[in-house]
Each structure stands twice: as structure tokens, then as C-alpha cells.
Amino acid sequence: MSQGRFVAKRTLQGVGVVWGVVTIVFLLRFITPGSAINAVAPLDATQETREAIARELGLSKPLYVQYGEYLFDLVQGNMGFSYIRGQEVTSLVFSKVPATVELAVAATVVAIVLSIPLGVVSATRRNQPVDWLATLFSLAGISTPNFWLGIMMILVLAVQLGIFQTSGRAVAGVTVLTSLVGPRSFLDTLVLWLQHITLPAIALGTYFTALITRLTRSGMLDELGKPYVRAARAKGLPETLVRYKRTLIGGAVITEAVFSWPGLGTLVIRSINLRDWPVLQGSLIVIGTSFVLVNIVVDVVYAYLDPRVVNE
């Protein structure tokens, strides 16, 4: 199989997966208890009011018509309208993406910056106290739920010591950059940004720090021992990457909730509480699609680096 065919195949599979996600997400509405009408209407609303709201929400049409219309709008980039919030879903969902991406990037940076030196040190001083400490750290990091770590850090570092903010996102990362030329003071903006993002980034990044530390350590040990093993080890990398991506997205939802971080995760939870289906569907589709996209990119890059994959 040529590289081109491989890319095409992966892309087609990706489209299939996204379509599956869209369909499942659409059907979820009908197997989940609680109607959107009850989220909008007061408890004592008359039947007449309920019916009027149902019409506004588009709930009075047959299922296949709703599904067809939804797919048709979706391929045009229109995720519908949230009557509960009175907003276009597409712009609402995409307005939350930067906050989540920012948190994920910060967590990744924390993970990489901490884990690689740790792993290297741990491998070069194998079976010495430094190595044991690093191994203990990895074990603790992998075993600690990130919401618990988040709550503990808030209690100690934000409430008790007042070093960081307990929750929220006061400025966007990009504002820090624009403040270099803009009206805000660069240092103040940076401080404000760091006060908000540091704890959630650590909470989300700890698991990966531990994961990559272990990976780096074993990689280093192999390299130090038998150089030819490296090629074989490389096969393990995509599995770790997949694990990394999955947990990053799942972890981000929980971490966002603990820190009231206004990203996609918070939007998902809020939409579930409000039974705001258009927004929930939109968010899940964006999350699912980005996941598929990242996978395709990783696969393609991997195929480029190691052409044998193409023929498997």
C-alpha cells in the first residue's frame, strides 16, 4: 500500500467514526431521562406553555426528520440553535475551545518539562535513591485522581497560602502575549494568568508527567544497554500516545469542573444539567472530531517515520 492510499484510508475511517459519533450523540437524547422542556419551563407550566416551548425547541417533529435536518445543517457547519441560551451553538462551542486547548497545552508543557529530566536522571542513576524517589513519584502520579490532587492544591496553595487563585480563568493566554504591546501591563497580566492556570495545569499534567517519566526511564535504560532494542521500543510509542490523548480529554473535563475553568468540559457539564441538547451535541462532536483528527495526524506522521506501519 502506498503512503497516499494509507492516508486516504485513515481519513475515510475517520469520517466514518465522526459520523458514528454524531449519530450516537444524536440518539443519546432519546434514551436519557428528562426532557429539555422541563429545563426551560417552570414546574407548574401549563400544557399549552409546554407545547409552545416544545415547538420552539423543534421537539415536535418525527425523529428521522430531526436527524436528517441535523446532519444536513451539520455538514454546512451549523450545529443548531440553543433556545435555552438563545445562542448559536457553533459559535458558543468554538468560543470554549481556546480555554481547553490552553489548559491541555499547559498541562503537556508541565508534563514534558518535568518528566524527561526526571526519567533521564532516574535511568542514569539506576537503583539509587534518586531513582527510587522518581519511581515513587511516578507511582503516586499515576495513582492519584487528578480531581483529588486539584482539591488538595486549592486548599493548601490557594486558600491557606493564597499563592494562587482557587478557580476560574481571568485572562486568556493570548492576552498575556498581546499585553507585550497592548495597554495592559505585561507583568501583571502574566502574573494573573499564572495564578489561574498553574494549579489546573499541574493537576491535569501530573498523570502524564508520571507516565512519561516511566517511559523515558525505560527508554533510556534500553538505550544505555542494548542500542538495537530502540527500534522495537518505538512500536510502543503510539499506544502511549493514544493513552495520553484519551486521558487528556477525559481528565480535562474533570479538571475544568474542579477549577471552574470555562472550557469545553464545563460547557458539557452545564449543558447536561440544563438538558441543553444542541450545545451538548455540538460539544461532544467537536471533542470527538478533534480526537479523530489528532489520531489521523499521529498515524500519518508515524507512517512517514516508520513506513512498515503502512503494510500492517
Partner: protein, 554 residues
Amino acid sequence: MTDGHEDGVSRRKYLTAAGTAAAAAFAGCAGDTGEAGATESPTEAGGDEDTPTEESMDTETETEAEESTETEASDEFSVTVTMGQMDSGLDPQDHAETNTNIIVSQGYEGLMDRDKQGGIVAALATDWERVEPGVARFTLREGVNFHNGDPLTAEDVAYSIRRIFFNDVGIASPQKNDLGAIDSVEPGDGEVTVNFQGLNPIVFQLFATNGEIVQKSWIQSNGSDFINSNINGTGPFRLTEYDSGNQVSFERNTEYWGEVPEVTDATLNASSESSTRVNRLLAEESEIVTNVPPQEVSRVEGSDVASINPVPSTRIIFLQMRYDVEPFSNQQFRQALNYAVDVPSIVENVLNGFGSVTGQPTLEQFTGYNPDVEPYPHDPAQAEQLVEESGFAGAEITLETPIGRYLKDVEVAQAAASQIDSLSNVSCEVRQREFSSLVQDLTTGNIEDKPNFNLLGWGNGEFDGAQTIIPLLTSQGSLTILKNDEVDSMIEEAQNEPDPDAREDILQETNALLHDLAPWVFMHQQFSVYGVANDVSWQPRPDEFIDIDTASPN
């Protein structure tokens, strides 16, 4: 950004500076993330700074905000409020949610308002009268301007009322029933006349709680997206920044017709985690936080920066029993359950004292409360005897309860059920239900779909007993579990009685009757428990509205 850090706690400032150094030292975190951030800047700028649709308006207000902050920098007083959830959009007439109401009502006002005790006070109307049984006339305040500078007109008021009631005026408002059944609205010279279908005996209670006034031309010339992300009201605060789902910022309206607030900047944000709200309060990031749960109370009381401020709310919690199924169809059985449940002990032990015991559907602060009706005493022996007399000894019943909808709802239900279960001749277990699925069963309009026995809470912002009894306990009520001709006819009489005193008498009698009929196990009046920073003086209101304009520095 209004972070509300106007106090001078030096320890915090030092540590904050130290923390920055620590954070920056986090192995080059700043530099690396900065670079990564640059690649996403195009989307970021579009998504987080200004939503394109709001851009034109926001730029304008932000400039104004900056100017006013400069001139008033000397007496700056910022208040940040953290609630459980954010708004579902800023259209004041297209929601039925407390949190949304708290946010939009910083900027929008109704014809009348309520004071700290729930009493009716004038707002955009200076006077109101019932000119005929089903006709109410409101005299409008002169010299009131919307935030965009345009004067308030009778046409705006009439349009606002119509937009709430009539589905063909813009939206199908979930507040449709909140003002009574309206026939027509007539704007006049400095006054507005509303004609109702029927008497509408509590018209002024309804207008004191509901009916935010919007500007007709502003609503008609803007789309739903814009109306839901901007505010153009007459209220004490003007919107400066709307960050959907994250926070909403206001500055005081220096042109306000009433007393201009001492609060210069107000920010409202939310966290669904109660511990996060308390953390924000203790870290001095928020001045007012809502719904501090009993287990967090001591943490707040033990701190030197904030304290607990409880207020009886307008919400009553009860266990309702369907009149049409055995054993609940039997009055003695229903009374027996009332004797079996030890409500004072539940209030004391489960709710940390944040509740008061009830014995009728109407709360003490409401019109129609009967002061002569005592709550059922805790008397298990009496309960067992009544169960025997009812002929349902050995009954096995299930109490359904929502999870996390009301303060400690599951724990309250479990305590009540175990007290009932400890009777020798009744066994009772608890079934936990997700609230929206329980609501689904309660609101079908068909009594057969409803649970036989379930815990429910009912908020009544109108402070009128009939507003609880009609939907829940009359045979026409949309959520009723009772069909009793005597109750129906008494309520009908009350709703057609123009004399307020005579009406109150009828409602008091109805409450005495309902106590004896015992369609509910009468539980408690829920308290709203706020955490308030010590450097802010603010009293909560029973109707759960947070009137930031009444806060002052301590």
C-alpha cells in the same frame, strides 16, 4: 477585571508575589506556553476577547467603563458574587431560573420590587391600583432612562408585559403564567392599564416578583443572540462584560433613578461545586457565595475573613402523597406519617438548624398563613395507633426523592423514611431519583404517572399561600396530588374575593383544613445559607435574589 481585592491583607499580597516567582520558575513554563499560545492566537482572539456579534456594542461600553473607573478610582468598591450556576442567556423574559434572574435583574427592573422582608415596594411604577375587579393600573415613574439613554415609555412597559404573556409577541416565554391571565394591555399617558381574564386577586404580588421591563425598540431591532448577550435595562448596574458561562461584569449606573449603589463594580460568576465556592470566599476572591452546605459552615465560621448569613427562603420541602392510591388515600394513614416523622430533629441534625418546621402548606411570611395551626408533634405511638385504625397496618411504602436538588434532600428523605420505617406496622424505603426524571413523571398532567410518595420542594416568590396551594393541591393544579371539593371551593372563593382581608381569612381556613387532610408529610422551610466576606455589609433576601446594590463596605 473586577477581582474584588480591595482589602489590604498583606500576607496574601506577599505570598501572591512569591507564588508568581514560584510559578514562573516552574521549569520555563511561561516561555514555552507563551510560544504554544501564539499558534492558537487567531481562534483565541475571536473566541475569548469579544464575540464578533457583540463587538460593536462592547467596545463602546468598555471605553465608558474605563473612563468611569478613572474618575471614581478613589472610592472603588468591588463585589464578586459566586453562585451555583451561570445564566442561560441575558433575555430577562426568556428564562425561568433563579440564577439567570439574579444576573439579569442587576440591570433590569420590574414595575414593583420587594424589600428585605419580602414586602412590596415601588420600582418603575410609583403607584398602582385596582380600578375594577379585573383591571389594574400602574402609574409610571417619570425621568427613568434605559442604559442606552432613551427614556422609559408606557409603550415599553405595555410591550414588555405582552411579550411575557402572548406567544406571538416575539417569544414563547416560560414566564407566561407569572403575571396572571392577561386579556389586554393598554399604554396611556404616563400609565399602563392591564385587563385580566378574571379577578387576578394577587396581581400586585405577581408584579412585585415578576415582569422585567425591556425597551420595545431595542428588543425589536436586535436578534436573539444579541439580546441574550447584552443588557439594556433601567436598573442600578450596567453590563460591562458578558463572558458566557464564565462571568458577567457590571459597573454601577451613575444615572440611576434611585439611590446610586456604593458598589462600583459587580462581578457574578459560578461554581457548581460548593467547596469551590467556599474556597473562593475564604481566599477572598469572592465577597458573597450562595448555598453554603451544612458541612462547610464551620469552615467559614472558623475563618477570620467571612461569616455565615442564613435567611429563611420562600421554599417549602414536603413529602407528598397521592390521594388516589392505597394506603395514601386514607387520611388517618397520612396523618400517622406526619406523627411518625420527627421534623425538628431532622432540621437540627441533618440541616444544622438551617430550616424551620412547618405544619401547613403556607409559610409564615406569606399571605394566608394560619398562626393557630401547630406542626404535628413527633409521636410514634399515636402514629402506630392511627395506622391500625386506618386498616393499613403492615403497609410497605417507598419514598422517592430527587438527588441534590434541594439542600440535603437525600439525607432528609432517608431520615424521614427511617423514622417511618421504625414504626412497628409500616415499612418504608427510599428510592433516589435523578431530578429531571422525577420531574418528567410529575409534570405529565396525569396523576397515574406520578410517584405515590415523594419528596419535593416548592419556591413561591409571590409570598402568597394560594400560589402554592393552587398548582399542588387543587384538582385543577398542574402538579396536584389531591382532589378535595372543599379545598377547591375555598380556593375558588379566595381567588374571586376582591377584599384582601376577607381573602386572607379564607386562605387561613384552607390552611387549617389542609393541615388536617395531611396530603403531605409537612417537613420544613428551607433556609438560604450565604457566606459573606467580613468587609462587606449585606443582608440576604428571602426570595433568593441577590441585590448587590444594597451592599456597602464594612
